[in-house]
């Protein structure tokens, strides 16, 4: 009974046990492989037996002048032209060329027999290498080794390219490993535990979860930190009972890319994004209380992910969310409340005392009542403000973010106002449009409060950073544009029906919070 041997190290070696010893075309045996059995040569072919040395020799054609080796005679001849040597390129002869077949020099090999010779010189070279050669080429991603360089290259191309990703973030190159892991993975168990209508598929689970989470999916208990996606979802769901402004949604696209990233990586960048996000979310939430859109969640999640103190988030979040939740106060109030907690959560490492300070500082601003200004106008103003008013620009940025077309003016003006008293907080917060001096500006903006953790980083929101000074407008515009018409700050503020002042105050609150990372909320709430 024939023994079928499969050796995974051999690419081509399928063995048909019997082979005839003569040159007559032997009967074709049914083989498992689709392609015809290799080594059934034309009986009239000339059999060439090369020694291993000759077979393995590369660059057999050597230039006599410079000793450069070539694999083909044609190439050598062309090279010789360069030396002004006589050269001759042999044309393919018109007469019938006798077919050549090659045998493997290894005596134990099945292809050593002339009846099993291979018809191609390159083929026999590769065969010899693969089966009888040393495996010098090793894939650096897995443990596979190859004797033929082209095999190795071909493998390297596909190694690790087909990857499966579990919700928990682990990558798999093999489907069966992935399936087995996924079946037992904690993330699947959690998913089923939640009332999720949309079981996320493997790619981009977090983003999808965020985008598709329905508002009602409120979950009071914070999900484990290891599952950022659910956290985001929940936050969004609970965070904004009222309609979220379009701004939030539009912001989401910006954020979502970050979201989709491994949250841990975002955490690394924590300081600046935290600040920025804080401000943004603050703005968003203030603007769009009720929206439970994922965008807000995106923000929140961004915060979450970007916050260094991840562990701080969940409990803080939920409580904050809850605080935000009940819209018992006027719409404007709600967002500010919520924002503050969020920023509280998100801000890294700031003690409550700082909050207090911030609050006090904050209170210094007295936001004037301002008519709404278009977002673009705000941006322009922000640009005008320039480096001098670093904080102002921050405010502007914030204002832009948070205010939709309806209420930009007031924000802007507010921002202007803010320039004098309270640079630090604002500037620190957004960093975009703040062309200036990065950390130094921030520092001074901070009003000496050292708690502002992430100074330099805050500038990186939207990648603007300090370098954004060149085009603060651009950055802001981009943001604004993305936020687009969705921005409904005005709507939110309008809905409140309250005085503009209130809105501004809230905005300011956020920004303060965001910038400084404190939650002025507590204090401010009291005031309001």
């Amino acid at each position: 009974m024939p023994v079928d041997v499969y050796n995974s190290s051999t690419v081509s070696g399928d063995a048909s046990v019997s082979s005839s010893g003569n040159q007559n075309p032997p009967p074709k045996f049914t083989v498992k492989k689709k392609r015809s059995l290799p080594g059934m040569p034309d009986p009239d072919a000339e059999v060439i037996a090369l020694s291993p040395k000759t077979l393995m020799a590369t660059n057999r054609f050597v230039c006599e002048i410079c000793n450069k080796g070539f694999q083909r005679d044609q190439n050598l001849q062309l090279h010789r032209r360069g030396h002004n040597l006589p050269w001759k390129i042999r044309q393919r002869s018109s007469k019938e060329v006798k077919k050549r077949v090659y045998v493997c020099p290894e005596p134990t090999c099945v292809h050593h027999d002339p009846s099993r010779a291979l018809g191609d010189l390159t083929g026999i070279k590769k065969h010899f290498c693969r089966k009888h050669g040393e495996k010098k080429w090793k894939c650096d991603k897995c443990s596979k080794k190859y004797a033929v360089q082209s095999d190795w290259k071909a493998h390297s191309k596909i190694c690790g390219t087909r990857e499966y990703k579990c919700d928990c973030g682990t990558l798999f190159s093999r489907r069966d490993s992935f399936i087995t892991h996924r079946a037992f993975c904690d993330t699947l168990a959690e998913e089923s535990a939640k009332v999720q209508t949309d079981p996320s598929s493997e790619p981009d689970p977090k983003v999808m979860a965020v985008e598709s989470s329905p508002p009602p999916a409120l979950q009071p208990t914070p999900p484990p930190v290891s599952a950022p996606a659910p956290l985001e979802v929940q936050v969004s769901a609970s965070a904004l009972p009222q309609s979220t402004s379009a701004m939030t949604s539009s912001v989401m696209p910006i954020q979502s890319s970050e979201l989709a990233e491994d949250p841990s990586s975002v955490v690394e960048e924590a300081p600046p994004p935290a600040g920025l996000n804080g401000s943004c979310s603050g703005g968003v939430s203030s603007v769009s209380n009720g929206s439970s859109s994922s965008s807000s969640s995106v923000f929140v999640s961004l915060f979450a992910s970007s916050t260094a103190s991840v562990s701080l988030q969940p409990p803080a979040f939920t409580s904050l969310i809850r605080a935000m939740g009940p819209p018992d106060c006027p719409a404007d109030l709600a967002p500010s409340t919520s924002i503050e907690p969020i920023s509280l959560c998100l801000s890294t490492s700031h003690g409550s005392s700082t909050f207090g300070n911030a609050g006090q500082e904050r209170q210094q601003y007295v936001p004037p009542q301002q008519p709404a200004m278009s977002a673009t106008a705000l941006l322009q103003k922000a640009a005008q403000m320039g480096a001098a008013a670093s904080n102002a620009s921050l405010l502007r940025g914030l204002g832009v973010v948070s205010s939709s077309s309806s209420a930009p003016r007031e924000n802007l003006q507010w921002g202007q106002r803010q320039v004098e008293p309270n640079n630090a907080s604002v500037a620190a917060g957004l960093g975009f449009g703040i062309p200036c001096d990065g950390s130094s500006g921030l520092k001074e903006l901070m009003m000496g409060t050292p708690v502002f953790g992430p100074k330099q980083t805050t500038l990186d929101f939207l990648g603007l950073g300090v370098a954004a000074s060149g085009s603060p407008n651009g950055g802001l515009s981009a943001l604004i544009t993305s936020i687009g018409s969705g921005l409904d700050v005005a709507a939110a503020t309008a809905s409140s029906g309250g005085g503009d002042f209130k809105d501004i105050k809230e905005i300011m609150t956020w920004e303060t919070i965001n910038c400084t990372g404190y939650s002025v909320a507590e204090e401010h709430n009291g005031d309001i």
Binding site: Y6, S8, S9, S143, K144, S177, F184
Partner: protein, 374 residues
């Protein structure tokens, strides 16, 4: 090595023999690879590593040792239940149902739709690695969850033993369990395709004839008889391909040494010497060493027999060999292709054998309880 063996008493107490084995194992490792700082303590019967289920999933994927059996069995099972709308699997294995997600996945993708699937596991399991930090019920819950996720109707049962026996040894528990393996107790249903999955299991059933039993039949054979009586559609048996039942210790040592070199060597090729995964895997395998070498009589529970011997046993019990089809073979080949070169497979008569550098390591076989009609 033999000198060492002679020096260390083969009839000495357990620790002496264990020590001699471990010393030999360490020296053999040292001669193959540089010495590492390993702390195998001789009496490590008490050191047990509990894994989480995801760790177990990774453990199984480290080398194709187990996955070979899973792949071959699942593929054979899949083929055997083609056209069936209900499938019931009796799972006797030591890998805590890690095998099933891929089968569930394959069943879910069936063009005619998935069958409804039931998996029953016995509540007793030999206390051997790999050990899990989760109860069987929890494992079942996760499996059920996954099946739901893939839209496969699913049920999971743990076949409980007599509760008053819960503190007894595995052998006693299993003997008791055997009495409960009846159609009614297992709730076997008429329209169900019954599948028996024995993975690394038969070796724990004693092959010694019990003199005090009425039938003068060993536990292993009794088990096979009962299984056959249930008339399963397919029975798959996977185990390590090595004959470690010899009464003579020295021959066992040689065989065991030669055989257990294989799993140790497989990790040698791609894990660094101080890799914790490797050390853990080796310590799990050392359990086998300890048991095979260090114990006799009832304590020696690792009684592997080779694939050929098992084949014969199955035939004696009245089973008919089900050869693996081409698709199965190709699946196994592509699985091995994804692992280090050095893994291979071959077909020997009725079995498919996983080879490492040409040495037989694990065999897989499939059996029908009646002559194939189609």
């Amino acid at each position: 090595m033999w000198v060492l063996n002679n020096v260390a008493s083969t009839v000495g107490d357990t620790n002496q023999r264990l020590t001699s084995w471990f010393l030999r194992a360490l020296i053999s490792r040292a001669s193959r690879i540089c010495p590492t700082a390993m702390n195998f303590n001789g009496g490590s019967m008490f050191r047990r590593r509990l894994m989480t289920v995801t760790e177990l999933a990774g453990y199984v994927d480290l080398i194709p040792w187990h996955r070979f059996g899973f792949c071959a069995s699942n593929s054979a099972i899949f083929k055997a239940v083609e056209g069936c709308t209900k499938v019931h699997i009796l799972d006797f294995s030591i890998t805590h149902c890690i095998q099933w997600p891929t089968l569930i996945d394959a069943l879910a993708k069936r063009p005619e739709g998935p069958p409804s699937l039931r998996i029953t596991v016995p509540s007793c399991r030999p206390q051997v690695p790999p050990l899990l930090n989760m109860s069987k019920k929890e494992v079942g819950l996760r499996l059920a969850n996954f099946a739901k996720f893939r839209d496969v109707p699913f049920e999971f049962h743990v076949k409980d033993d007599d509760p008053c026996l819960s503190n007894e040894s595995f052998v006693v528990l299993f003997e008791s369990l055997l009495t409960h393996l009846t159609r009614s107790e297992l709730d076997l249903r008429e329209d169900e395709a019954l599948v028996i999955n024995c993975q690394n299991w038969l070796r724990y059933l004693s092959d010694e004839t019990k003199l005090n039993s009425a039938h003068n039949i060993s536990l292993r054979d009794a088990f096979l008889d009962i299984i056959k009586g249930l008339n399963p559609r397919i029975t798959v048996v996977v185990d390590d391909d090595s004959d470690l039942t010899a009464p003579s210790l020295s021959s066992r040592i040689t065989t065991c040494f030669n055989y257990l070199w294989i799993p140790f060597d497989t990790l040698e090729t791609f894990l660094p010497k101080d890799s914790s995964q490797r050390l853990e895997f080796e310590s799990d395998n050392s359990h086998k060493i300890e048991n095979i070498i260090g114990f006799e009589e009832f304590q020696r529970i690792e009684r592997l027999e080779s694939g050929t011997k098992l084949s014969q046993r199955m035939k004696n019990a009245g089973f008919f060999n089900l050869p693996f089809c081409e698709d199965t073979i190709n699946e196994v080949k592509s699985l091995l292709y994804e692992h280090a070169s050095g893994w291979g497979m071959k077909r020997e008569e009725d079995t498919m054998v996983l080879t490492w550098k040409g040495h037989n390591s694990v065999f897989a076989t499939a059996w029908a309880s009646t002559e194939l009609e189609d």
